[in-house]
Amino acid sequence: MTLLPWLVAAWLFAVGLYGLVTSRHYVHLVGCLTVCQSATYVLLLGIGYVHEAGPPVFYDHPPGTPAVDPVVQALVLTDIVVGAAVTALLLAIAIQVQRRRGTLDPQALRPLRPPPSAAE
């Protein structure tokens, strides 16, 4: 039972990878990438969790009361916000791919094949 957080993190990462491999739509692929990302959040926050401890904010309870690890929380916090911006960058790339190649199927997007207009 105590293994559950680590197994959930591994599960989320594996499921996200499965989605990345089988995805047939670039936007869907970006969504699967966010699942992979959430695995790291679960892992980090699971590492920092302390039984019977409060949040690492000493406003209502005085310093010295048991609290969970603030360092991993800071890591996750910045990553969530920056990760969302990176996701937006990937979506912008997806829109441009659709504009230029007319398809979003990763299977049809061979990087070295010139667009049909250039071949003519």
Partner: protein, 108 residues
């Protein structure tokens, strides 16, 4: 480990699976919003209110909207490609576009 944390962990695993299995990107957006909410509640249960605040704002509001806007832009481009024909060398075959739309539903 309290039952609440265990339940939320299982729910997070399930909602992550649903995000991957929702092959239609338009449906996936809603699965992602649900996943963001579950993760936010999980972080709250793990005594991380700071992280939960940003996860709920990012995961349930901002990211799904960005996905929806991107999908709308892509759908508009496909519609334009269908009406404009083969101009600019795009694949403007409506049957192919629709087949592609359907493929995402049926691909495993």
């Amino acid at each position: 480990m309290s039952g609440l944390v265990a339940g939320l962990l299982l729910l997070a695993a399930l909602s992550g699976l649903l995000v991957v299995l929702a092959r239609d990107p338009r449906r996936q957006v809603f699965a992602m919003a649900g996943n963001g909410l579950v993760l936010g509640l999980l972080f709250l249960a793990l005594q991380a209110p700071d992280v939960a605040l940003s996860e709920i704002a990012v995961g349930t509001a901002v990211t799904p909207l960005l996905f929806l806007a991107a999908l709308a832009a892509i759908a508009m481009d496909r519609a334009k490609g269908r009406t404009e024909g083969r101009a600019k060398g795009r694949t403007a075959d409506p049957a192919k576009d629709q087949a592609e739309d359907r493929a995402v539903d049926h691909a495993k």
